[in-house]
Amino acid sequence: MARFEERPRIEAMNREHMSVVLAVDTSGSVAGEPLRQINANLNRFKECVCEDPVAASCVDVCVIAFDDEPRVIQDWVPVSQMQPIELTSGGLTDLNGAVLLAVEKLRERSREYAANGVLEKKPYLIVMTDGQDNVTGAVSEAAALVTRRTNEGKLKLFFLGYGAYDRTAAAQLTEANGRWCFQVRDGCFDFHDFFDFVGNSVKAVSVSAPGERVSVPTNINSDISNVQTVDLDSWLSD
């Protein structure tokens, strides 16, 4: 009989989980084509991540919509059980409130993982907006929180701006990332490449080993993509 022979009786009990919050601007200005694209791509995000059955079993998703105020559209579920999204638009843009709520939802999920002995990978916060905060008037509170938690290694922010989004607010929110964000070329609302990148990133990171560097192929910044990364410092200095 082998000296060490007992095999584990269950797979994936200790697998690290990963929480992802998608915070989506549903203010009046995103009506029409932008919102259609957002709805379609939110649903594709699920399909993308679920292509990997391991990722499908360990990624949890929460969707927040924000206009006059932020609200949870889809509370925490495994990504495989994410319900079809059909957002509607109207009202103002509470970007500050949305980010604060999103960070609180990520913290809530981290506490639940810890309380149940489930290990966790760094959570992702994905924010999409075409405007500026016209409820609070500033994002300084949210920016300070995101910066602190990013520097503490407790979250990773993906910020996508489109249309006439507030670049100053984007710079504040992405302070810890080096003040850059994703941006869709003017007048174009095809978010396909952004959601592909985000979905593939979630998929790759969720199944990666501790300390492993992951690489995700993307068309972003290429001639064939309408999504680019923007150095907000350069923009701010112009």
Partner: protein
């Protein structure tokens, strides 16, 4: 006679990526007889974490060995470990200064134990840890993994969070970094108020087999092979374990069923139910 064996291997993904093992260990036989062992786990995000873990584990073990060189009295072990932790922290800081890098680049956990076949003392920083088999065959955790309420680890540099303790009636001791530790003591068990140790898996390492003392190199190879073959979905981290035992004083045997381990289907069902209410 006291013996030890150790496993220290890079995790599968680190091997695939050509990354070094970021765990380290050091185990010594003190001149007065007891064993001292340390394990350390460099933080995955730290560029020089493998340096930090090696510096911490080696400096701590050797500091204990120097202080207890001529004295095997268990009452001195815990203070010696406490001072050795301070030495280890200073050694890591010095290593960072030598390399002109931020000390955070060498962040590491550290777990240390001294064992003489019947008593143990321990110190811990972070989420590595130690388990013990008592003389009557009961398995107990000596340490608690130190993480915040969101599961993030407090490494050695948080010196106000170090913990120390002692254990009598100890028949064997095991130290491990978090990947292996959580195979033997999955956090979900303690979270559900169950026996925190998977007794079925842990028995292999806490209950020495007859003849282990005479074939330590083979035992090490077999233990390494065991973890190398562990399901990657459960263990993809670097793997470090040091087992300390006295082959003349094996742990006793508990009642039938004690080493059957938990009902994992029930454990998983409860965890899922709690997460997705």
């Amino acid at each position: 006679m006291l013996h030890f064996y150790a496993v220290n291997e890079a995790g599968a993904s680190h091997r695939d990526a050509g990354l070094p093992c970021q765990d380290a260990f050091c185990a010594l036989r003190l001149a007065a007889g007891p064993l001292v062992a340390c394990v350390a786990d460099g933080l995955g995000s730290a560029r020089l974490s493998q340096v930090g873990s090696a510096v911490a584990s080696h400096s701590c073990a050797h500091a204990v060995a120097r202080e207890l060189a001529d004295d095997a009295v268990p009452a001195r072990w815990r203070p010696a470990i406490e001072r050795a932790f301070a030495s280890a922290e200073q050694a890591v800081l010095a290593a960072a200064a030598e390399r002109c890098v931020d000390p955070g680049e060498l962040d590491t956990t550290l777990c240390c134990a001294v064992f003489d076949g019947s008593s143990a003392a321990w110190g811990n920083a972070g989420d590595s840890g130690a388990l013990c088999a008592l003389e009557d065959g009961t398995y107990v955790p000596l340490t608690a993994q130190d993480r915040d309420d969101e599961g993030r680890v407090y490494p050695l540099c948080f010196d106000d969070r170090w913990t120390f303790g002692g254990q009598g009636r100890a028949a064997s001791v095991l130290l491990a970094t978090d990947g292996v530790l959580e195979c033997l003591a999955p956090p979900a068990l303690a979270a559900q108020g169950l026996d925190p140790i998977d007794t079925r898996i842990a028995r292999m390492f806490l209950h020495p087999q007859p003849g282990d003392g005479e074939r330590l190199p083979e035992v090490e190879r077999e233990a390494s092979a065991y973890f190398a073959d562990y399901p990657r979905s459960l263990l993809d981290d670097d793997m470090t374990l040091v087992a300390l035992f006295d082959d003349e004083r094996a742990p006793g045997e508990r009642e039938a069923g004690y080493c059957d381990g938990p009902d994992w289907e029930q454990v998983r069902a409860r965890a899922i139910a709690a997460l997705y209410r």
